[in-house]
Amino acid sequence: MRRTGLSHILLILAAAIVCVPVIWIVAAGFRTQISLMMGQVWFSPVLGNFAEVLFSSTSDFLENYRNSLVVGVASTALCLVVATLAAWSLYRMRWPRWVVHGFLGWALVFHMIPPIALAGAWYTLARSVGLGNTLLSLVLAHAVLNLPMSIWLMGVFVRDVPLELEEAARLDGASTPVLLRRIVLPLVAPGLAAAAVLSFVFSWNEFAVALNLTVKATATVPVAIAKFAQDYEIRYTEMAASAALSILPALVLLLIAQRFIVRGLTQGAIK
């Protein structure tokens, strides 16, 4: 019992360290800039920052929010479909070993490249196929950025689908699409949930590529937040207010899907 007590104390301490900056961000959203800068501990909350961010005529935050949701959801969905098919293909379709290793190796290399080194090339590519400044170009970019991680994660789950089940389905005359839908899909669902949350959160927070591939009408939330860090004025409180708003959907998602993420990561990390 005493041991558990000590564990709780240490964990609560760690939780406090994690929480303080987040609480501070949210609190800063309710302060005036000068109150924040004077380092005042007590302040009377104001709603001006949230009003400015949400309703001012110069702010497109609601539109940015919608763009982020669209890009996050669409790129995640696209990425999962492509990644699951690829993972299944690589592990279950008797590709020569060099194909499998080559593909996964390349995915790993790709994962290590700072995205900023690719953003310029993607912009040119998007424009040359007529997708310049569209949400679709950003959806594609985020889907591809998430592909290595998703293929890796889904590979773990695909390998767990018992071969006998697939063979049995084949003997019953199931075609490949039926096999994928009826047998594979239900068994990899926990992995899909985990990969979905990770991809969505990544897309939701990604800045460098989003900046390069969007214009005012297609900008996402991080791009909007970056606009508060100006060349000679950082509008901390409005930035804090928009940051607080930006954490919301991912937080809701995590509270709902936490079980799936943890289960997904369990499988992913220990196999």
């Binding site: 953003a119 310029g120 424009r127 390069n212 100006q230 000679y232 004025e233």
Partner: protein, 447 residues
Amino acid sequence: MVSRRLTRRRVLAGAGAAGLALGGLTRRVRAAGAAPITIVINQSPWFDSFRKTVDLYQKESGNKVNLDVNPFAGSLEKQRSSVRANEGQFDLLIMNSGWFAEMYFGGFVTPINEIDAGFKLDPDVYTLDGSVYFDAEKKVMAPSGKLMSVPIAPLIPLLYYRGDLYKGAGLKPADTFAALEDNAKKLNHPPGIYGIVQRGARGTSSVSYDFYPYLFGFGGDVFKDRKSGDYTIRLNDDAGHIALDYYLRLAKEAGHPKTASLDQAEVIQNMVTGKAAHVMMVVSAWSQMDDPNKSAVVDKVEFAPTPHAPGLPPGPGLGHWLAGVAHNVPDDRKHAAVDFLKWYQTKDAQLANAKNGGIPISAAVYKDPISQERRFRWMPAMVESLPHAVNIFQFPQSAEVIAILDVGLNRAVAGEITAVDALNGMAGQIHDVMAKYGYKTGSLPLK
């Protein structure tokens, strides 16, 4: 190719105007009003005023203007991507002092008179050390060249000082460096109030930009003669040494103890929280000083030109914004962009710009009675300073030189190296860069 253009145009011109894409219709469109244009700009404290001024233009002219607003970080990359494509998406580029040379040298902006031979820059508009002109043959920015751009915001540093503290201590406004040093020392009561807060951090253009008014104000310079393209390094001559010694002494004896880590945002924070008696800061930060939500020193800050040595003019370095027309957009949009510039440079437009909170580009506004209003008390200092504004870098590789200056000056401020070593070291490295790119350059004998 045709269909691709169609799509792009449709996006820009709105679905109803899709027919525009078919060539040959441009003239008819112009007769019906200017084509819609897209201006690429970055978010900044003065953006809101610019937006209001653009709104006014749209109302008065009936022409459509789209503003693509970007974060400051990354706006250059977006402009580069657009001007380097086969067909640009941005018609009017709002270029910062840090990158307009790249746009001129690279041929990315079309000279305005090649679009509209009749365009004349209003004589009241500041040409900002000739930086609106470019002579492509001599590779210098001077009236001998072609008109490439129109100023959008003529930003330069001013000396901000606390009028209330001056009154309390019975001080006179500082016009020379000696007077500034005296006043700063008298008002220096750390840690409550610092005599002066300088921007000593290393950034993309931080401590170097803070140092220019000192360097030029003491009669120094980085190069021997920019106007004729002579890039012999004179950063480490006598004037350079005097300027850096002064800058470091001021930081040490009347400045913030952590000058080496202060960037623009921190300098402004020190001013608005009442911890700085003086700062040298770009003029457009004035609006924060009088905003009660952002400032504890409302109505207490006064403005003066940056100081100078006796007998010399002030030497504020330009951190300005210019508007140039992109080379790779259709003619109708180029014309429409010039139409906007024609309107923007008028006195009426600039009066509106000032009232919206912008920094006017026209001397006519600074002569107008509104310059006597309390809220525009920075205007007289601007009138005095603008004719002496220095266009520091006139070549596209300036970022490499600025990086050298920022690291060297920052190390000197931090006390890692002596002023002599810093100046000689920077001079040597800058010489190497200029030589690498084939500019006429040379060095002073080392001391």
